[in-house]
Amino acid sequence: MDYTNFLFMNHEISLVVVMVLVLLTDLIFGDKNKKLCQYAALGLFLAHTVLGLYLGHISDMGNSSPEVFADMYITSDMHILVKNILNIGTFLVFMFAFRWNTTENKEHSSEFYFLTLSTLLGMYLMVSSGHFLLFYIGLETASIPLATLVAFNKKQKESAEAAAKYVLTAAFSSGVMLFGISMLYVSCNGSLYFNDILEAFDKQPLQIMAFACFIAGIGFKLSLVPFHSWTADTYQGAPTAVTAYLSVISKGAAAFALFCIIGKAFAYAPEVWKNILWWLIVITITIGNLFAIRQTNMKRFMAFSSISQAGYIMLGVAAGSALGMSSLVYYVLIYLFTNLAAFGVISSIENETGKLNRDDYDGLYETNPKLALVMMLAMFSLGGIPPFAGCFSKLFIFISVFEQKEYLLVFIALLNTVISLYYYLLVVKAMFIKDPKNPIATFKSDNMTRVGLIICTICMIVLGFISGLYQYIESISF
């Protein structure tokens, strides 16, 4: 066996090394110096992120379609880019969680890092899988530690409730998904390789049922309607850092994995999944929006907003073309910075004052103008107001669907953008226009959060204009 093939897994290997080191530092220094462990974890992960950006362009390795474990594990420049995007997002989440990890969660900070990184490893595998079992293992590795993370505020009842709901739904959905996979196994000549399924899929009822179950399972991760019900309760109860992680990283990975699987395993039967996705997208965006209108708790609000955003991400999947893939990855990239900016503001306010309601944000501009500005930018970008990056990502994803002649779908998505604008602007209105009854006092957020917010803000403003970025993504999509 040629061991050099393992080098294609350099992201995974490096991440495992980081995880082990995080555990080891905690074991050795954890009792005396928690702060050191924190910095070590952050530093190690930063090194991993930077290394990932520089290492391993597959095209440089002289092998166009590399695989490991006999096609079970697939990688390409695009996979690597997606993993890098996930890394950056996770690092930003860590930055926003820094304060929480030094105060409330001081005791268990190393566990927080370790568990988060394990879910990240699961997502890597999900994204790179070439076989349904590896995909399933990745999915579970990504889901189960998350349940622990959701329950991390041990003393809070809500956190426990959220975790219970999450774990039950996750178990249920993974059951449904396994059921689907086993049906696929039966109906596709006893193979679970994507390539074999591609050949064997000939629209038998059993196969279609299997596909429906598979979609339901991944729909849970993406929180597509009607598999979304857990989202709001879990997002609200979980620690804010975990919520941010759930809403961005978890979703991005699942969306890309879904795109790859549909492209690899079901490419010959578009009439099956196109219709299903069409309806899923329409109800996801619409219902997500309709619920979001009524929310006053910011975390719950962001939960429904992220449901409808997931619908927009799915537009790229529905397009199913190379353009769809590049616009999907671009959308996820922009969405990551935008949503994390919003969560960064929410978490820094929560850390400082414990306030989470939209009414508490009244007159935020008077007392904390910078936070209010970042939040405003994030809301504008989420709503797709030019010239912020969110506008460009929406534009590209609409174009990709438009090219598939799905005009009605684009129209519905556009209508929904108007509704979403309404509730995003409600937040801006609260911050800038409303008179505060008891305003949030002026405060300084910690340095990590500030750096994270600055990065997000710059990206929101600048990324849309850097056409080279999109062109790079376009050049490596397939």
Binding site: K165, S229, L290, I293
Partner: protein
């Protein structure tokens, strides 16, 4: 070449960075630091601009047998629309853009320096928004430089709008004054209105030719602009050739920025901004963008739409005399200068309108750009001089001035030089550029020549009326509250520098040291010309007569001005009221557009459209209310929803 290409991005990046730094962190700096920082960085930018321009003209690397070659220092793709049509952001270096680089960087640098003195109050404190001022000044410099180096018409349009925005920001600099806010709005709306036509013109042109790039659009081959001729010939719209419509619309955009009649109404009001900004934007650089635009597309105008060029000549001629007449009756010194600017830009337009193509045929083209250059220098000088005076006497009105020549000697001398230059007295630069315009007009268009000849005399008259009212004429009625005195060196240095340029460039021309025709011509080929004394002598005569009349009327306080006015009572009143053009606009917008057109539309909007929208919002809200039960909080119910979802999908899909 390599070296220039490496330097080129900094021309744009430095001012842009300065805008960001001063805009974002300016309020953390002391006023003085912000000013010094802005000036220093722009100083570096100017040095780069000079280096590029001088290298281009004199290194010989870019010349090929007496013809300058246009080069693209960099050109990166920004947005691809179709396979053939895409937008680039780049740096086009040819004689035209090199000249503009010099003009912009010189005037802008002088304004940067000058503002450090002008924005300082007498007690030594700075105006509160000084950082904002320098930030916007940097933004403007960035936009203007980006405009002139554009490789394609779309890049030009982007920067064109940015220039408009920064002009808006600078006019409304004193935002607490309602008049400044009104003026800013007016300038923005009028120029945007014109830009709409510009955009339509761009779209028509690029729709047919399939390109935005100037190098393709202006490629001349056997008496035709190839790409335009091959794609747009014989296509007509409403009986007019489509190419004429396109380039006329593009000209309208230029007419808005360059304040051609009847879109000139914003420029006099724009004088509400700080005087240094007026000197930079509303005298020397932005307002000549229209001239630059026509010059940039000159081959298209000349070969494919000669009638449009003729119209441009007539519009220019009319605007120049119209504005010159108004300038004779204004009493606000900045407004006199504003109308004089309109009149002089129209002069440049006329020069383009009467120009032919190729070597000596294209004299009008050379003269137009040459006049652009000289006018930028002496007009900026006049504005800054006016600023120094306003700073000293705290008023814009002529009645509050007089007898300042002893009190402000440097301002006096430099102002006099600029007045002589604009009046067309040799050896100052304005004489030569104006002379060449008249020569070109005489050859090609007698009517334009007659008008411009008369305007030359008129210009001398109103400029010297201004000069005498400020520096001679006798003290104001109530004397001065504070004794006016000469300004500090920060403010007088730019005056002396620009006066030096005005004198030296004239003398260089006279002795043939640096003939402008060796730098720029319509087809970028060098040629030689000589001063045409048969035109020059009468034009000097006209200037001298204008000056003599002004001397007779305004040298000392006498009853003569009033007596002169009584001869021309009606015309004088019309000129004071600017021929009621503003009132016409107001009547049209208020009584016709608002009342007859907008009000019915507003009714429809309020009752039908809003009602429909309210209905939609009500439906959305209602359905949001209806479905809230689904989110009950019970996990068992969530599982039900989940499984029903799966079953529905299966049933529908099978």
């Amino acid at each position: 070449m390599e070296q220039l290409a490496n330097l080129a991005p900094f021309v744009l990046l430095l001012p842009l960075c300065m805008f960001l730094v001063l805009g974002l962190f300016g309020n953390k700096m002391a006023h003085k630091t912000a000013g010094l920082l802005g000036t220093a960085v722009f100083g570096v930018t100017s040095v780069i601009c000079y280096y590029i321009a001088i290298n281009y003209f004199f290194s010989g690397n870019f010349q090929n047998g007496g013809t300058f070659e246009a080069v693209e220092l960099f050109n990166m793709e920004w947005l691809r629309m179709t396979d053939t049509l895409c937008i680039h952001i780049g740096f086009l270096l040819d004689p035209l853009s090199a000249i503009m680089l010099i003009v912009i960087s010189t005037v802008s640098l002088m304004v940067h320096i000058y503002s450090m003195g002008y924005m300082k109050e007498h007690d030594g404190t700075y105006d509160g928004g000084l950082q904002r001022f320098y930030a916007v000044l940097s933004l403007f410099s960035f936009a203007m430089l980006g405009l002139v180096i554009a490789t394609n018409i779309f890049q030009m349009y982007i920067f064109w709008e940015l220039v408009g925005v920064s002009s808006f920001l600078l006019i409304s600099y004193y935002y607490y004054k309602p008049s400044a806010v009104r003026a800013a709005k007016k300038a923005f709306i009028v120029t945007r209105f014109a830009d709409m036509f510009f955009l339509i013109g761009i779209l028509i042109l690029s729709y047919y030719t399939g390109t935005f790039d100037f190098d393709k659009l202006t490629l001349v081959n056997e008496g035709h602009v190839e790409i335009v001729n091959s794609t747009m010939r014989d296509i007509t719209f409403c009986g007019f050739p489509i190419i004429s419509i396109a380039v006329f619309l593009i000209f309208l955009g230029g007419a808005g920025k360059s304040a051609m009649f009847p879109l000139h109404i914003w420029l006099p009001d724009a004088m509400e901004g700080p005087t240094p900004a007026s000197a930079l934007i509303h005298a020397a650089t932005m307002v000549v963008a229209g001239v630059y635009l026509v010059a940039r597309l000159f081959p298209v105008y000349h070969f494919e739409a000669p009638h449009v060029l003729e119209i441009i000549a007539y519009i220019g001629a009319f605007t120049s005399i119209f504005a010159a007449i108004i300038a004779c009756a204004q009493t606000d010194i900045k407004r006199v200068l504003a109308f004089s600017t309109i009149s002089q830009i129209a002069y440049m337009m006329v020069a383009l309108g009467v120009s032919g193509y190729g070597e000596a045929e294209g004299l009008g083209y050379t003269a137009s750009i040459w006049h652009l250059f000289t006018h930028a220098m002496f007009k900026a000088l006049l504005f800054m001089g006016a600023g120094a005076i306003i700073h000293a006497v705290h008023s814009n009105e002529m009645d509050d001035m007089g007898n300042l020549r002893k009190r402000m000697p440097i301002t006096h001398i430099t102002f006099l030089i600029a007045c002589l230059a604009i009046a067309g007295i040799p050896p100052f630069s304005g004489f030569f550029s104006k002379d060449e315009i008249l020569v070109a007009a005489l050859e090609n268009n007698k009517i334009a020549f007659a008008v411009e000849y008369f305007v030359a005399g008129l210009t001398a008259f109103y400029m010297f009326r201004l000069y005498y009212r400020i520096f001679w004429f006798g003290e104001p009625k109530d004397g001065y509250k504070h004794e006016p005195h000469e300004q500090s060196l920060v403010m007088t240095f730019p005056l002396m520098f620009l006066a030096g340029v005005t004198v030296i460039s004239g003398i260089c021309w006279m002795f043939g040291l640096l003939p402008f025709t060796h730098l720029i011509s319509s087809d970028f080929t060098n040629y030689d010309i000589h001063t045409h004394w048969n035109v020059a002598l009468p034009s000097i005569g006209a200037g001298v007569i204008g000056i003599l009349i002004a001397t007779f009327l305004f040298l000392e306080k006498t009853g003569r001005p009033n007596k002169a006015v009584s001869y021309f009572k009606r015309p004088y009143k019309w000129a004071v009221k600017k021929f009621y053009i503003d009132e016409v606009y107001l009547y049209v917008t208020n009584n016709i557009i608002f009342k007859r057109i907008c009000q019915p539309i507003a009714w429809f909007d309020r009752h039908v459209i809003d009602g429909f929208m309210d209905l939609l919002a009500w439906i959305t809200n209602k359905s949001s209310e209806e479905i809230k039960e689904v989110q009950s909080g019970y996990v068992q119910q969530y599982a039900w929803v989940f499984i029903i979802g799966v079953i529905t999908i299966v049933i529908c899909a099978i």
